[in-house]
């Protein structure tokens, strides 16, 4: 699973060179505590480190932390590596961790803020040891700790200093973000690249043209209609995650606290009416057929919960007539950052027309979409791509819980579901946790507050000279181990 796709038994990495990478959209901010889009995350992962690495498919791995322990599910102690430094040379100590938590709490927004809200106290035990006391037990806190990106006390967004493998050079709006090798990085020899340049390139076909003509070395997506042809042509390597593993999904948010979508039967009808097999064709068979946020190959997946994988139009129509809602028009706001959002939205529109729901489509750029849908909650249906952290608490919590960003936008309140999430965090053994999440999936799949529309494929394009890239189930792009063969 998620095996390094780097070809034959790795020769020794050669240092040096510049890697140019496309981004589907301009980042909205380089402040790691305010990031909201995937593109913010892509740049942030190069500049900042967390206590742990954020790919947990092989279990937790230390990044700034060299070891950690958890006497109980609400206390976590991290021991930092020796001699850590920020890009500007100041030492990174337990005090920096404490400052980071305080700053995200005071100035953070969205997901980065939600992560630290659970922390009751951050205690510096010695310059290299920090202890978190949580407000409530959270067995999945290690994953959250990976996402808390550490910044120095004099952090300034215009010159974002972190401790990640690359340090900031410049951000020319709509042109590029340039970062260069941080020579003081803790992992010896890494990063191998001298420089990394992110180029916002909204058009997917253009990304491929840039790659094939050698104007970039790496693309953050591959246009789905062309994946087969690109694989066969062999001039460009397609890296990806095997299907069924990643919590990546296309996600249809429903405004569940306002008519008509506050009506359970309308939401169920919508989910039954959508033809997910047709949607899998829209993505040219890439990805996985699924209607559950927990991926089918995940340890927490519950096959007993309601599945909408098979379209059931008769049932959808019956639910609609039982709901008493008729002749309704819904507005669907969808992203434009990937080409497939347009045909997906059109399939939804055609599918829902068959159960008497008229859908108006409104394509929006990601920054506008986030503001209108997630922040102002000005929407009825919202189509996006999501990729929560790997733990079931994060997957279910991030997508549906009223206490998290997407759930807040949806406005679905279900006490039992929230209690299940709390319980899942308080128990530690995986078998015990599985029982809890099995139950949570039963609830959320029945209530359909947000609708999962298959796995959103994670694919990257790279020139054959790009080596050492390891795709991660969360679609974070890590370049510290990447090098260029000559």
């Amino acid at each position: 699973m998620a095996a390094p796709a780097t070809g034959p038994a790795s020769p020794r990495p050669t240092p040096g060179g510049v890697l140019r990478v496309t981004l589907g959209a301009e980042p909205t901010t380089l402040d790691p505590h305010r990031s909201s889009t995937l593109f913010d995350f892509h740049v942030k992962d190069a500049l900042f480190d967390g206590l742990l690495e954020d790919d947990f498919t092989q279990g937790p791995k230390g990044q700034l932390a060299e070891s950690w322990e958890s006497p109980d599910a609400s206390t976590y102690i991290f021991r930092l590596r020796q001699g850590l430094r920020f890009h500007d040379g100041q030492p990174l100590t337990a005090e920096s961790i404490k400052f980071t938590v305080e700053r995200s709490l005071a100035q953070g927004t969205g997901q980065p803020r939600v992560l630290v809200e659970q922390i009751a106290a951050t205690e510096v035990l010695d310059p290299r040891t920090v202890r978190f006391r949580l407000k409530a037990p959270n067995a999945a806190f290690l994953l959250d700790a990976a996402d808390i990106k550490v910044v120095p006390p004099n952090f300034d967004e215009r010159n974002p200093v972190g401790s990640g493998p690359f340090q900031f050079v410049e951000w020319v709006r709509l042109r590029h973000v340039r970062v260069r090798k941080f020579p003081g990085y803790y992992s010896s020899g890494q990063p191998y690249l001298d420089e990394l340049v992110f180029l916002p390139t909204p058009d997917e076909n253009q990304k491929l043209v840039l790659l094939e003509s050698g104007q970039v070395e790496f693309t953050d997506t591959v246009p789905l209609p062309r994946v087969q042809a690109v694989r066969q042509a062999g001039r460009v390597r397609v890296h990806g995650i095997p299907p069924g593993v990643s919590p990546s999904s296309y996600y249809l948010l429903t405004r569940a606290d306002r008519p008509p979508l506050d009506n359970l039967k309308v939401r169920q009808a919508i989910s039954f009416a959508i033809d997910r097999k047709a949607l899998l064709e829209v993505t040219f068979g890439e990805g996985t057929l699924k209607s559950n946020a927990i991926p089918p190959r995940h340890w927490a997946f519950n096959p007993q919960s309601v599945s909408f994988n098979e379209r059931d139009l008769a049932r959808a129509r019956r639910l609609m007539s039982e709901s008493g809602v008729g002749g309704v028009t819904l507005q669907l706001k969808h992203l434009t950052s990937r080409a497939e959002f347009f045909p997906i939205a059109q399939v939804i529109q055609a599918n829902l027309a068959e159960i008497g729901i008229r859908v108006e489509l409104l394509p929006q750029q990601i920054g506008i979409w986030i503001n209108q849908v997630l922040v102002q909650r000005d929407f009825q249906l919202g189509l996006t791509g999501v990729i929560p952290p790997y733990d079931p608490d994060s997957i279910l919590g991030n997508l549906f819980s009223i206490r998290r960003v997407n759930g807040r936008a949806i406005g679905w309140r279900h006490e039992l579901f929230e209690k299940q999430l709390d319980q899942g965090r308080s128990v530690v053994r995986q078998a015990d946790r599985k029982r809890v999440y099995d139950h949570a999936q039963l609830i959320v799949q029945y209530d359909a507050p947000g609708i999962i529309l298959n796995e959103r494929p994670i694919l990257y394009g790279a020139l054959p000279s790009v080596r050492g890239f390891v795709p991660d189930v969360r679609q974070h792009m890590h370049f510290h181990g990447v090098w260029l063969s000559r």
């Binding site: 076909n205 209609p225 042809a229 047709a278 064709e281 829209v282 347009f342 059109q346 399939v347 108006e360």
Partner: protein
């Protein structure tokens, strides 16, 4: 008169074909332009689908024919708005002159100062993207062409003897405007109408291409051109079909407009006759 000008005849025939195809779109093709069939998607032209299928397996020929309805109705509404409002404004300005003309014509100049497409984009972005709003926006940006033309006509016609004669017989302003100026303005109006109609179709296609015009699932040539672009290396037919439809409609209208101008403008008619005479006949 059209028989004398083969270009105009061809234009008229092309445009008539577009109109008929759009009117009888439902009867000409067995497919529902909205019916999604994923298993048939992005097919090349075949006996079953004469122009192939789009990214959702919808028959492209049906979508092109039905798209014609949208384009033509935008053209009719837009040109209707522009011709009515523009001609009225221009005739009034030309006839009365003075402060009234200054106000009207400066307003028109103001409209003219913006590039038409940019203004139409701004209008649809404000009003919200839809077929009606696109038509209204295009109508508004087309007003200046009609207003300027009508004003020029009015200035010339009001000095003619027959206008004086009408007034001497006791005709009021309204009578002169509607029964004297307007009928004498019909020839340039017809030419302008056909040219503006072609421009309206082009502008609508541009707006839809940018996502500001006709909204899915309603088929639209401009939107199809845009979507087809994403699949260019798999089915070039997709964009070519949409582009071809726009080409045929616009070419037809422009040829027709050219022919009408030649036929209706007395000065050009003389020039054309002279030109024809210089060519060896036989």
């Amino acid at each position: 008169m059209l028989r004398r000008d083969r270009g105009a005849l061809a234009g008229a025939l092309l445009f008539a074909a577009v109109v008929l195809a759009a009117l009888f779109a439902g009867a000409l093709t067995p497919y529902d332009p909205l019916a999604i069939r994923m298993q048939d998607r992005l097919q090349p032209p075949s006996a079953r689908h004469l122009l192939g299928t789009d990214e959702l397996g919808r028959d492209l020929l049906s979508r092109i024919l039905h798209g014609g309805r949208a384009s033509l109705s935008v053209g009719v509404v837009a040109v209707g708005i522009a011709a009515t409002a523009g001609t009225a404004m221009g005739l009034v300005a030309g006839y009365y002159g003075g402060a009234l003309a200054a106000v009207i014509m400066r307003t028109v100049d103001g409209l003219l100062a913006f590039p038409a497409l940019i203004l139409a984009m701004a209008l649809t972005a404000t009003l919200g993207p839809s077929l009606t709003n696109a038509a209204v926006a295009i109508g508004i940006v087309t007003i200046p062409a009609f207003a300027r033309l009508a004003q020029a006509s009015a200035l010339a016609i009001k000095e003619r003897e027959f206008t004086d004669a009408a007034r001497a017989c006791g005709a009021g302003d309204l009578y002169v405007l509607v029964r004297v100026l307007l009928p004498n303005h019909v020839s340039p109006l017809m030419v302008q109408t056909s040219v503006s109609f072609a421009n309206a179709i082009l502008t609508e296609a541009a707006l839809s291409f940018l996502g500001l015009g006709i909204q899915p699932p309603t088929p639209s040539w401009g939107a199809m051109l845009d979507t087809g672009r994403r699949y260019l290396d798999q089915t070039a037919w997709y964009s070519m079909a949409a582009g071809g439809a726009i080409l045929i409609a616009v070419l037809g209208l422009n040829l027709l407009g050219d022919g009408l101008r030649d036929a209706l403008d007395p000065r050009l008619r003389g020039a054309r006759a002279a030109r024809l005479a210089e060519e060896p006949s036989g």
